[in-house]
Symmetry: D2
Subunit: 353 residues, 4 copies
């Protein structure tokens, strides 16, 4: 277990640091003959990339994906798909002041304790920049899922105290891409944007929640006991930097519910067995039942804030730190596509088995 | 990925069905020379076993664990530890009425869709009985963790609408074993017991939440990117039957928080670097920082209730079902030890790497 | 990597010691709905079991296989198939004299160095008794291969200096089961039997070679680069106790050959692409080409001999040892079915991917 | 199982095609703080690279290795080490004539049957060019093994009918690098070179054998049952393109031997338990015993020869093929460093566990 590889049959191995030459990955388990739709892949990259709006970090990156193996005449050959994403911004900033200081609630201290050495430039491997690699994996997974008519859509359902109270079935979730916070209800989106402005003025950051819906997964996906679909989704989501919680279907609310209320009653529609309600979130006994799969992921506030904070240095001495530069006020709008990517890879991995 | 094996270096492979001869497992990766404390193991089994109080199912099982390999003169040899737990109660009930009917919110339908065949007797492999195997794995893991002074304690923090509002640091959580609901605050425990009586009278069931605390994990445990400690704990917890959500540290509440409030400021205590607050739940960048690790797991209400419910049969015909027998009103008090077991195996697996 | 699990999609986990209660295993990845042909399985067990002829050890074992999970109404459910094989002979001998002495060319010393503790009774986990577990795995794999019309046949092609010089295509290899050495050429078999008598009279043991042929594997099985079919077969074979070498197709003889002589020329037969010769042993670039797969496995002489031998004890003191009891003069005739089992599991594992 | 990743704790993932932009890899599990000795790595690359002498292919490649992640200030950080090796020679030849024709005893046909599509340019992924990636992995493994004083040396022991009959202990095997065939006995080397000239004049190719010796592996390395050190070495070696056989210690010759002759008698030297002979090849019961580990790998003749050969095209039509360009007359001298690389990675992987 090295932490750098995700999946079993559809497998993404990630490498690269935030301020080195590039980040990149190797995808193994792609079906042969898949057409690589570079437009689609780049569109996905753009949904994650920094600088896309005034609520995100202004680091400049084109996030152009270069595939260097596994393709002939625009189609996959079934061999590993390696790719690079250059870091345009690398080495441009001076991180020497962070070399011996641990930023609060970052991974600086824990990496140092684990390895005894760390790439201090912009967080190195622990930077959110590694999620660009996930988005490429997710884009390839989505291209494969298209052949199964499965689609994965995520959106922002909470930023700070501003919550989207409506159930996803009451909304047209495809509208999420219409605004910079990626919330499908424009009225709530406006409130979120207002809130983010305020947080930014305060030189602060704020957390939020992403909701994700996966449609058309056939019944029977997921493995019993330890590799339940819910367990694999939970692991995938909690592997995203800043994720603090996961719930699917009725989630934490189920703790308050009665069995008589929570049980999803079966019925038959067009010869297909379905359920009247879907508190199960499309998963029963860890295996998909053909209904929509939906879940939520909570993200903590970005720990980089434009304020002077107390901390310690490598020798344990108390000191102060001010993290310079433009940071995301809230990571959630950019995390939406990362959540989708992890969900897509989880599903295709199980389908490939 | 088969779903029946948990872990990489400390590995539990589970087998067995609810109403066959036995359930059992094989544990691989146990250190050689470990003394097998059968009293401890059996005590752990008793915390999970059915019939331990009037709020649990009255199925009779001694849950006696028999080790059949990997031990000489009471000590482990480093070779696989196989064990069996007999099903005393097997074949005692007639499940023929369930053979062709799907119980709502059970795994009957999804197993049928996945395999085309299923062991309909008492849920077969999808029965909660498989968690007995996890508890054995967890007990061995705890024996190994003792050598690292690491301990894992879980307790009930919510049943239905009755919540334990106090933070675990305000409580003596070792008191949880003093009452049948395993809540360390006796006043709240009494309310929970009252609530469960009411639910039982209603022939209904109810959900709840387990909180778990792991103390003395050294800094540096967990792997970057995909195998973050938080991700592995989430997967472990969501693999437990009935689990619907996981959050660690500040969890879902972090979504409402500001960075300035949420960041855990470092300080030095006795030359050890620590944090003033612990919203991180002992995990930063997916790696332990030496503070307490704590998390919550939400459980849905038990789907087996003593009421007539609508459902469909194997041919999609509408029908009715009444699930006979005594069932758990709430699984949470018995799930406490299962949560601990999964946490203990997750930690020892990472420590063994 | 624990050493006790074989395979990825079809996975056998082995446990148990030679003189404990039993040996056994868990098979994961069996297709649901497979009829368990107990007669076939037991016949396979009988081909390996001790005491089957006067050239094998006279240890008495019925080697009866008891399945304890994964089956309903005689058919597999797709869940793990756990099984036990009792050790009738356990604890019947006194091994105390071996407790602190390392038998030459056994695993006593290396296990001691690895674990610091070992089960000294009859070799414990390192005993050839563990191969009984492999034969069960192989029998289940063969039942699954039958559905693909693939069959696996091994036979003895050398014992000591007595070699079967004919190519397998010149023989009716199904005749191998007609004699106690499992050599399909009765004249050579007789010579082998004579030779073994002589070796036995000398209180000695002797090595040999098993040849294995796998027919009807479709083209396209095996993975590029590191998981070549040849590599996986080599690993499977060298994992058998006493195996010292593996070669497939032209094997070591290819070192002397010219490319113009060794290249297998393609032709077309009934619209199927075939090769005129088969020096490739059915594998090109690590992937099956549809021709017969064939390979050889060399086995060393059994290290247990009825002679006094010099050795050292646990403290490094020189001493003498005489290993009592009836031992196999040559393991090869019993290894034939183990070779088949490992080959069958290797193929079905790749087919299941 | 994808075939593109080798190892468990020390893990090499390989990618790239012969005539695409580059080949490359990702190494995971490198210890942090390791100094990257680029001179050493490049020297290893030069031992494998084409065009190094007149018996190898004249394809021009600098085989310069560029590391793109996992390093800071010349030292590893413990995160994945990704690297690229450019293909200078890519697209320089016209392979269109091979697009629809299967070269005899190459992987063309089997890749086509497996994937339905293939990179026909120079063998694509099935080209020997992928072994450059293994050599990088091996070089990093050797740098790690140096800290354990373990060294791995391979040499050519047979080319065609020219065999090195002396045991490696009778030779100074470090002399192997002094001649272009990498045989430590200069007299035999000269014969080999003469033989290769003759084969080249015949427009033919020839096979051979590599012997490898690993010194200073401590006792206790290797896993019981399925992951025996011998099994893992066999798999590693048979994964090299063109490998047809593997034997360790007494190998195939053990089949003719008696137990009384073959058993390695223990004795004590300087308080260390050793064996008088080493027919075991340093491995007993699959676990190292502290003696030298040694083994042989047989390679078939290179299938690309400068002669017109009969074959079939993609539609099964008979046709002729002549493979143009300069090819290796014998791959063995270049395979020596690949054998070392695979051995080094196998050992460090087990040591890292």
């Amino acid at each position: 277990m090295s932490g750098n590889t995700f999946g079993t049959s559809f497998k993404l191995t990630s490498f690269g640091e935030s301020h080195a030459k590039c980040v990149g990955g190797v995808i193994d388990g792609v079906i042969p003959g898949l057409e690589i739709d570079m437009n689609f892949i780049q569109t996905e990259m753009n949904r994650r990339k920094p600088g896309q709006s005034n609520i995100t970090t202004q680091r400049f990156e084109t996030d152009f994906v270069e595939f260097i193996s596994g393709i002939i005449d625009g189609k996959t050959t079934g061999t590993p798909l390696a790719f690079l994403i250059n870091n345009n911004n690398h080495n441009s900033q001076d991180y020497n002041n962070l070399k011996n200081i641990f930023r609060p609630s970052h991974a600086d201290y824990t990496y140092f304790k684990k390895y005894g050495i760390r790439d201090y430039k912009g967080g190195g491997r622990a930077s959110g920049r590694e999620t660009a690699v996930r988005v490429v994996g997710g884009a390839i997974a989505k291209l494969m899922l298209q052949k199964h008519k499965i689609n994965v859509i995520a959106f922002t359902s909470q930023i700070g105290e501003i919550k989207l109270d409506k159930h996803y079935l009451e909304l047209d979730i495809s509208l999420a891409e219409n605004n910079i916070v990626r919330c499908p209800d424009q009225i709530v989106a406006n409130k979120m944007i207002e809130h983010l402005k305020k947080v930014k003025e305060d030189n602060d950051s704020v957390g939020g929640v992403v909701t994700c819906v996966i449609k058309n997964v056939p019944a029977g996906i997921g493995e019993p006991i330890f590799d339940k679909l819910s367990a694999l989704l939970a692991r995938a989501m909690l592997s995203i930097g800043g994720a603090k919680g996961f719930e699917y279907g009725s989630g934490f609310r189920s703790a308050e519910m009665r069995g008589s209320q929570h049980n999803d009653i079966f019925y038959t529609e067009n010869r297909k067995i379905r359920t009247v309600t879907n508190y199960s979130g499309g998963i029963q006994g860890g295996i998909s039942n053909g209904e929509d799969i939906y879940f939520k992921v909570a993200f903590k506030p970005v720990p980089s804030i434009n304020r002077t904070q107390k901390t310690v240095d490598i020798d344990g001495n108390l000191c102060e730190i001010k993290i310079e530069g433009m940071h995301d006020v809230c990571i959630v709008p950019r995390a939406v596509v990362v959540v989708e990517a992890m969900a897509a890879m989880t599903i295709i991995d199980l389908l490939r088995e």
